[in-house]
């Protein structure tokens, strides 16, 4: 059987529109910044550098627009994606948790935020009793500190607690 393949323009999905909007915004920002910087310099080599970025950004926006219109934003299998995406809420909560951890890690110090982060993340990812999560958090925090700070001599933010 012979299958005829035709290409038609797709109406982008909401994700597609979001991607297109983001790409065009990036394009506008790159062009604006490059034009401003190119006007402010007398160095022709620097101007060439700004032109290069504008060309790359323009190519990106054009190719992305064509890609989304011809192929859609897509949802397809890719290498390594055997198990499927994590539930959206858990994933979003985990991202928030990592962000909170990064803030606390730089302001409070390493041990306490790491213990709390590991305990909460373990509980969030899978069923585990709270007491076990707490023990696991403390053990993981102490172990990573021993390996990275005491063993490998890595310098991490001391924070207000100093440890």
């Amino acid at each position: 059987m012979r299958v005829t393949v035709t290409r038609t323009l797709n109406r982008p999905s909401r994700a597609g529109w979001a991607v297109l909007a983001a790409a065009w915004l990036v394009g506008v920002v790159v062009v604006t910044d490059s034009v401003r910087a190119a006007r402010a310099t007398d160095d022709p080599s620097a101007v060439d550098g700004h032109i290069y970025l504008v060309v790359v950004a323009a190519a990106l926006v054009v190719m992305l627009t064509l890609s989304v219109l011809l192929e859609g934003a897509g949802r397809g299998p890719v290498e390594g994606d055997r198990t499927g995406p994590a539930p959206v809420l858990t994933g979003a909560a985990l991202v928030g948790l990592v962000a909170g951890y990064a803030i606390c890690f730089s302001t409070i110090g390493f041990l306490l935020p790491t213990a709390v982060f590991v305990a909460v993340a373990a509980r969030l990812i899978g069923p585990m009793p709270w007491w076990l999560c707490a023990v696991f958090g403390v053990v993981a925090a102490v172990a990573t500190r021993l390996v990275f700070v005491d063993g490998a001599g890595m310098v991490l933010p001391r924070g207000v607690l100093g440890w």
Binding site: D33, S34, Y52, G80, F105, I125, G126, V155
Partner: protein, 500 residues
Amino acid sequence: MAQFLDMLGGIAAAAKPEYLLYALIGALLGTLVGVLPGLGPASAVAILFPLTAVLPPTGAIIALAGIWYGAMYGGSTTAILLNIPGEVSSVTTAIDGYQMTRQGRAGPALAMAAITSFLAGTVGVVLLSFAGPAIATAALRFGPPEYLALTVLSLTAVISLAGPKLGRGIVMALAGLLLAGVGFDPISSAQRLVFDVPQLLGGFDAVAIMIGLFGISEVLSSVGAGLAKIYSGRLGRLWPRRDDFVRGGKAGIRGTAVGFALGLLPGMQASVASFLSYDVEKRVAKRPERFGKGAIEGVAGPEAANNAAAMAGFIPMLSLGIPTSATTALLLAALVVYGFQAGPLLFTQHADFTWTVIGSMYIGNLMLLVLNLPLVGLWARVARIPYRVMGPVILVICVIGAYAIRGQMFDVWVALAFGVFGVALKHFGWPTIPFVLGLVLGPLLERGLRQSLSISAGDWSIFVTRPISATVLALAAATTAVTVLWRRRLSRKGITALEE
């Protein structure tokens, strides 16, 4: 002869106790991460990179190389024992390897995988020892147009092979090139897209981005995953039978040839080599119906192919500074972090370093063979550790790692942002490898383009009037044309490249 002596000198230097220790730690840690489902060599190198930050530069690169081939080995162990390929290149190993396990022949499957991996890795390192310096010497005559042509070839090949949709590969490569342009202009040192953010002056750190793309995003993508049904039978006797050796050995030789040849090409990842090797084994077999039912050639060929391909990838990376995969891109970024510039001069200006690293690969491959077979049971148990335990620990290591590169919280935020970006890319089926190569090759491409046009006073014909540049560009055009025709043919059959 000189290369042979250099190689021996490298092995002797790598046999120093501290370097042996770094290679051992790297190989073991790499295997540890490699056995975890979904975490392949690129993830292993990205996640474990911070641990090497405190080592001396040579030790750090030895450990990172050990992590790489350790992770490749780890993927095959769980593929055979648990039917869980730790990474994509082990998918073919799982097909017949797991069937052998079900038949009580896990031992010979594991032994044959280890032996052929070792042999292919060793052959790969020998060829690297001779081809690397030769290519580097030839590349000393390369100027900006030739480097631009090589970069274009690398990008077009990666884009062509990145996935079923060509447009997406191009978009991702362009996004990587754009991101690489942030910071100081490589020619004039003018600031570009910095927006008065001091951390952006030096541009985005490629390692932080890869920690996000290959470390954080893998954990975020896997948190909802459950393990497949695990077979918990006996390993059987470890040593393969005579006919296993004969059939597996021949398959290993063929796999090494296929893997090494393909591994030299940009974009031809180890996984592609293992799939093609499996196909070759089926085609040359007298009874192809045995495949999928526990044929040892289906284990030996792909394992040899993916290890040979991985080793071959070192040749363009070390001698030309051109990465061919995400892992070599990461290693290239690591070399920069440790003060080395990969390329032709690496073999002359840093000869001791280069030969010690190559020498450590011989030893590291041997270490994997000797140490890992007795530890098979341990690796199988590691693979069964649930993500609720491993996930948070990996995330902590990623955060520490991103911070440790430059001692900046900014890099942690970059890693987290690219972790989320990586999940989105995976969810919508956009390829990450062209993005990574665009990011790493961006400065090389821009420098090559602008310096060439400066030499030629703006005349673009410089790229086609110099023979090497013209040949490489023609090769890039041919690669793209062949890929487009191949995709069109598949489309007519109603199948996508990925399905094929």
